[in-house]
């Protein structure tokens, strides 16, 4: 019956102290609640205006329309997301062609080859790439990269084009791939490497045949995060890619197989979802108009896509992680 014996009240405190404790605890809880409220607010804000938009423009029309012109001069608005999706996909895929191979190789170098000294210098330097303001990247793409490409490789390139913007988006997302992948590779236990060497494998074989497969879940999740970042990227494409929502010209190759010439898409101006949103802000911002509401519908699409990608990346990193 130890329960019934009265223990001395060690926590006896004055009312003032208790009040103080409660106040501070409540304050901190309120701060934490704000982060939850932010998520709720994003959902509600996007959804409420997007729902108003979908009352005028059916969702099916929005998702399948191949024409985007929210503020045409002569009337006849059209809200089809397909050309914007094509623009976003162009930038994302081209950027991934840069960030994924370079980021992966960087991660392998940092985790397997670099001396501790070199790593301690390279890692913070790489983070700089992600810290440069994106509007500066956009400016670089427009003013330096495009003229350089035009003078050397693609004379027919237009001033605003998807290629230069995508290159910059790719460079910006390199550290995202490299740092998360490198964390995953460093977490591979050394025994696995030693076992590989014991079997007579070279350093190259250990790196590519043991470390990379063992950390593949982390690497894959880093790819998804980098792609999701590229999808949401705004300023680089706004400054360097121009603002023409176009459907690429579909050509017919041999045997009538339709195909799209990549140069048509990459060397010309285009419009991504984010550019379309920025475009609309040039008009009325007090609300109530159809273009204003369409901005929120686009935002909702963007938010949903990036959220889903982040959740997938999280699941891959958690579920398929090799436990050592």
């Amino acid at each position: 019956m130890t329960d019934s014996t009265e223990s001395p009240d060690l926590s006896r405190r004055g009312g003032l102290t208790r009040l103080k404790e409660g106040t501070y605890g409540g304050l901190f809880a309120a701060c934490a609640a704000i982060t939850l409220l932010t998520t709720v607010a994003i959902f509600v804000t996007l959804l409420s205006d997007a729902l108003v938009f979908f009352r005028s423009v059916p969702i099916a029309e929005f998702l399948t329309g191949i024409n985007w012109s929210p503020n045409p001069a002569g009337g006849g608005q059209a809200f089809g997301i397909i050309p914007l999706l094509i623009g976003t996909l162009t930038v994302t895929i081209t950027a991934a062609f840069i960030s994924i191979p370079i980021g992966t190789l960087t991660a392998i170098y940092l985790s397997e080859y670099a001396t501790p000294n070199a790593r301690s210098i390279l890692k913070p330097l790489l983070e700089i790439l992600a810290g440069i303001p994106t509007v500066v990247y956009g400016y670089f793409a427009l003013v330096y990269v495009t003229p350089a490409l035009k003078a050397t490789l693609f004379p027919e390139m237009s001033t605003f084009n998807a290629l230069a913007a995508s290159i910059m988006v790719g460079i910006m997302t390199i550290p995202m791939v490299s740092s998360i992948s490198e964390d995953a590779m460093s977490a591979v236990p050394d025994e696995l490497r030693q076992a590989g060497y014991g079997l007579g494998a070279t350093k190259f074989e250990v790196s590519t045949g043991i470390v990379v497969p063992a950390s593949i879940s982390g690497i894959a999740s880093s790819y998804i995060l980098a792609v999701s970042r590229a999808i949401g990227e705004t300023m680089i494409v706004v400054v360097a890619m121009g603002a023409q929502a176009r459907m690429p010209e579909i050509q017919e190759a041999l045997f009538g197989i339709p195909f799209v010439n990549p140069a048509d898409v990459l060397l010309q101006s285009g419009m991504t979802i984010t550019v379309a949103m920025v475009q609309i802000t040039g008009g009325d911002l007090t609300g109530g108009t159809l273009p204003y509401n369409s901005m929120f519908a686009l935002g909702l699409a963007l938010f949903a896509v990036t959220l889903v990608m982040n959740v997938i990346s999280d699941i891959i990193a958690q579920r398929y992680r090799e436990e050592y």
């Binding site: 102290t17 103080k20 404790e21 605890g25 901190f28 701060c31 934490a32 704000i34 982060t35 939850l36 932010t38 998520t39 994003i42 804000t45 996007l46 191979p101 370079i102 960087t106 170098y109 080859y113 670099a114 390279l122 330097l125 700089i128 790439l129 810290g131 440069i132 303001p133 509007v135 500066v136 400016y139 670089f140 427009l142 003013v143 330096y144 390199i174 550290p175 070279t202 190259f204 590519t208 995060l225 949401g232 990227e233 705004t234 706004v238 400054v239 984010t274 949103m277 920025v278 802000t281 911002l285 609300g287 929120f296 935002g299 963007l302 938010f303 990036t306 982040n310 959740v311 999280d314």
Partner: protein
Amino acid sequence: MATDNANADGFGEVSRVRGIVFEYLSLGASVFGLVALGVLLVYVAIDAFDLANASPEWLLTYFLTLVVPFLAFCLYSADDAAVTRRALGALGGGLVAVAALFTAIEALVVPIPRLNWQLAYLFVVAAPVTAYLAYVGSGGRVGAVGFGLLGRLVGGVAVGLAAGTLFLVFDPLLWFLAYTLGVLPAVGLYALGRLRSSPRAQTATVPVGLVGLVAAAFLREVVATYPSDLLIYLWTIAIPVAAAGALLVGDRRGRTAAVAVGGAPLVVATAGGFLASSAGLPAPTVLLVLVLTGVPTAVYVSRVVDAGEGLAGLGLPFLLAGGVIAGALVVQTFGFPTPEPWLDGSFLTAAPSRTPTDAGLYPAIVGSVIIIALVAVLSFALGVGTSVFLEEYTPGTGPLGTLTRILQVNVANLAAVPSVVYGLLGLGLFANLLGLGIGTAVTAALTLSLLILPITIISAQEAIRSVPDDLRRGSDAMGATRWQTTKNVVLPEAMPGILTGTILALGRAIGETAPLIMIGAATTVFRAPDSLFSRFSAMPMQIYTWAGFPQADFRYGVVAAGVITLLIILVGMNGTAILLRNRAERGS
């Protein structure tokens, strides 16, 4: 057996070539992004400072008067024969190599636009060597003193200018009343409580301060006559700063030194403040800059003199200033053609204009400073509050544990939401629903605070988590309450880490453009904002606007100057954060 035979053919054959190629390929990949960024930064610097038109004589003069003495200072501080040999070898060998390589490329492959071999040498060899030597030199006692002094001078000027800028928006009269009635009594009470070790006086600090603030807000409408702005700044900022400096020194060096350290900068600053208006400068800003530069410098010098080590380092600012003056004199006497940089004094103090040569960044800088100040306060308070709640106040299990996990996942997801979506949140919620106004500084500050909040929380959590548990248990064992443990043990230990994370997050906020566009920030304003609810522009916003102008002078001149200004501010902020972190790591 068949398989054995098949294997035997290739057994023991190890391709070294493949491994070596792969290693260098991955090394190349690691530096690819950095090299690309480096080249672009070199070009933007050349454009901003008009270095393409700098004559070789001009470059050589400043190289000899400014860079060479600085390198000599670093070498003297490092005091290492190996470093000296390496640096001189790199400088000399680099000169030959760059000149030869550059000429060969120009002659055989393609002419390189807007770059000559002297500039290439400067950027490819001299700049890295200087950075390396500055790093090595700062390890020596003399170098540490020199850079410490330089940092206080530059930091003081920056903080003083920022404080002066803030008073363009915040009412100095209200601040005067709030300081006199709220801040001063509260601080006095707190000090009294510490001195007499009476917890009751300390508990009363917060209520007394709050009452004072409310009284100030009330009296602001009632009182009609106020002292002049200069006197307000003298009373509310200059005197407290000087007193704090004097207290810091007085503890160790007695009354005379304290009076000298506090009083001398105060006198200089007051004199400067009164003389400034006749020179056409804003008097309050001059006063603030002088006192915020002077007092920390005086404290630092007094400490160095006290320690008696590395006194030669105190000469570094004079060395650099002398180099600039000597260089200017030489250039003037011999009439060397000088470049006309886009980034100069008038660019930083003028309003935007349609003519490239008149265009300036001043209103945008003011807008950025005001927003960042608000964001800093908001995101720091919210970030620390949330991370303390998540780390110290919630258990890992039970229903509250589930809530903690939900909050954690939520923060991680918020960190990955595209910034343009935050812009929509700001537009829909703050600007339109709450009626804070489209494109006002408040809307922008709230939006950007929410944007960087997840980053602040995550880094603050890491800092709090790295506080050893023994310290908490020790505090608990002495009967401290949870808040007392948090306040006295956890937060002081974690503060450098929290500050580092917050400053890095602020660096992200200062460069964000997309949310500002979405909330309707002005593309160009011609006057600095004068209230929190006036239309404003910010540095990245102005860069975005200018980048859209078709004239070459804008594209290659004005925008480059804006980009360099933004990057310098970013480097300054991140450098401060890294210094803080390094100092904390060395301390612990």
